[in-house]
Amino acid sequence: MAETKKIATRDSYGNALVRLGGEHPELVVFDADLSAATKTSMFKKAFPQRHFDCGIAEANMMAAAAGAAAMGMVPFVSSFAMFAAGRAFEQVRNSIGYPALNVKIGATHGGISVGEDGASHQCCEDFALMRSIPGMVVMCPSDDVEARAAVQAAYEHQGPVYLRFGRLPVPVFHHEASFRLAIGRGEVLQDGSDVAIVATGLMAYEALEAGRVLREQGISARVINLCTIKPLDKELILKAAQECGNIVTCEEHSVIGGLGEAVCSAVCEACPVPVRRIGVNDEFGHSGPGGELLREFGLCAENIARATRDFLRRS
């Protein structure tokens, strides 16, 4: 297999904004002094009159975007996940979520793969925070193709959307020509019947790799990619629970409140099966290269394969 091309989904975000911006004059961008990192700088370059730097003041930025949305604009608001979902949580909840305003939060630098900046900037709680807001759509695309499609889908959706993008370049494994994305619908990357591995974000590619390894070892793993964490594709998850009988979840997020718990909630109410959650285990990260941190915290194909084998042996 040829070397897979790698692109950070924050770059996909920047590119998608520029493309959408060309078509939709009501699309505006707010950023909090991080446009070079969140990649909204691309939009700023293309449409300087529609890019509003709010300075290092995320609380005001979120509520100002809400005000702009109330005037019929479609604001994409960007910062690091830590500050968009974390610092400005209450503004997102009360000024965007409660009035159901049409604001899209494009949060970059999600998860531990932020790397060298360390724990203060490695947000592993954003899914939990954003999932808890009624009506909020929560998406975490896995690669460049899916990320650009997610930005388009978020634009087309009427209402608030939280999008998480990454800093680290990740393999592009979706095929642009045949790829279709719908909010709330998951995707079976590989079929299988012994276990379902459900992943989101950059963990989808790792899960796919783990699925290949497991197949060589005689384990038939169904690999599911969920770009939308909320609303959860319950139909796909329950079908996997019924047909595979075991589920492993994989996310670059705390095991508390994220994809793993969403899947647990869905299956325990309708089709209880054992679930093993792979994620960040209720601990803070630390500085280091993003790729190495992913391996250290077990957020890699090798660990998914090992944990799945152990899990199946015990369950």
Binding site: G55, M62, A64, A68, M71
Partner: protein, 281 residues
């Protein structure tokens, strides 16, 4: 402003105050103190200043009003009802199950409410975002927002003030209801935000200090606000919390307490005699 106009506004303000009492008494809950301190400015805005159409509350070109001090919703609701955005009979359903009059303003349930607010410090940012959008859209509308003096203890309004100046939002008018009281006591004793005019000037606002119970001074200040270009405008109103009801005036205890039946009767009789006096003049 003619004496006749002034008297007309005073009569309307009296009706708005009665609506505040109807609402908080009917709801057995709510915030009369800060609603009454701002009753005159609510009246002035909804009957004189704002470009609005009660028959078309979502008219695109309307001026916007964001009640950043959202807990004084009874004052806003009473002004909206008196301006015929919805029936006066709705006021006593404040905070009831099934009522469109939520404890704090909800833009999706109440006609005429332009932004959902309640968590202090956020409305002013939304108003600034609206003003920015209006400029981008080339809309000839203005955005007004009312904050409490305690509210500006939050950090977020100062972020919003920076933003308003940075983007030269001369279509934004920030009004601060300086009624000197908050839940825990006198504002300067709890956590002083003073001097408010100096701070706003330092943040790049054109500032006008007025008596928040004088329609004549309001008229001058808002005219000045409309004429000011290139920078946002702030009207800092000195007011009396609980204004118009003798036993509520300047009492922190009436911040978030509803009148019981006897208190309601007394307050209404005071307001009725004020009204009779005005109408008899």
């Amino acid at each position: 402003m003619t004496d006749m106009e002034k008297k007309q506004l005073e009569i309307l303000a009296c009706n708005v105050r009665m609506g505040i009492l109807e609402a908080t008494h009917g709801g057995k809950s709510g915030h009369p103190g800060g609603s009454l301190s701002a009753a005159d400015v609510f009246t002035y805005l909804y009957f004189k200043e704002l470009k609005i159409d009660p028959n078309n509350p979502r008219w695109e070109e309307r001026d916007r009003f964001v009640l950043s001090k959202g807990h004084t919703a009874p004052g806003l609701y009473s002004a909206l009802a008196n301006r015929e955005f919805f029936p006066l009979e709705d006021l006593p359903t404040l905070r009831h199950i099934g009522s469109h009059l939520q404890g704090h303003p909800n833009m999706n349930s109440t006609p005429g409410v332009d932004m959902s607010t309640g968590s202090l410090g956020q409305g002013v940012s939304a108003a600034a975002g609206m003003a920015l959008a209006a400029k981008y859209q080339g809309k000839n509308c203005r955005v007004y927002t009312l904050l409490g003096d305690g509210e500006i203890q939050e950090g977020q309004p100062w972020e919003a003030f920076m933003f308003a100046r940075h983007y030269k939002l001369d279509n934004l008018c920030v009004i601060i209801d300086n009624n000197h009281l908050q839940i825990d006591g006198r504002v300067e004793e709890v956590m002083s935000p003073y001097p408010i005019p100096d701070k706003l000037r330092a943040f790049g606002f054109a500032v006008e200090e007025i008596d928040g119970h004088s329609f004549v001074q309001m008229e001058k200040a808002f005219a000045k606000a409309r004429a000011t270009k290139g920078m946002p405008f702030a009207v800092i109103m000195s007011t009396v919390k609980g204004k118009g009801v003798s036993f509520m005036e300047d009492q922190a205890g009436w911040h978030g307490k509803a009148p019981n039946d006897a208190e309601y009767e007394q307050a209404m009789s005071e307001l009725r005699s004020q009204l009779e006096q005005l109408e008899g003049m």
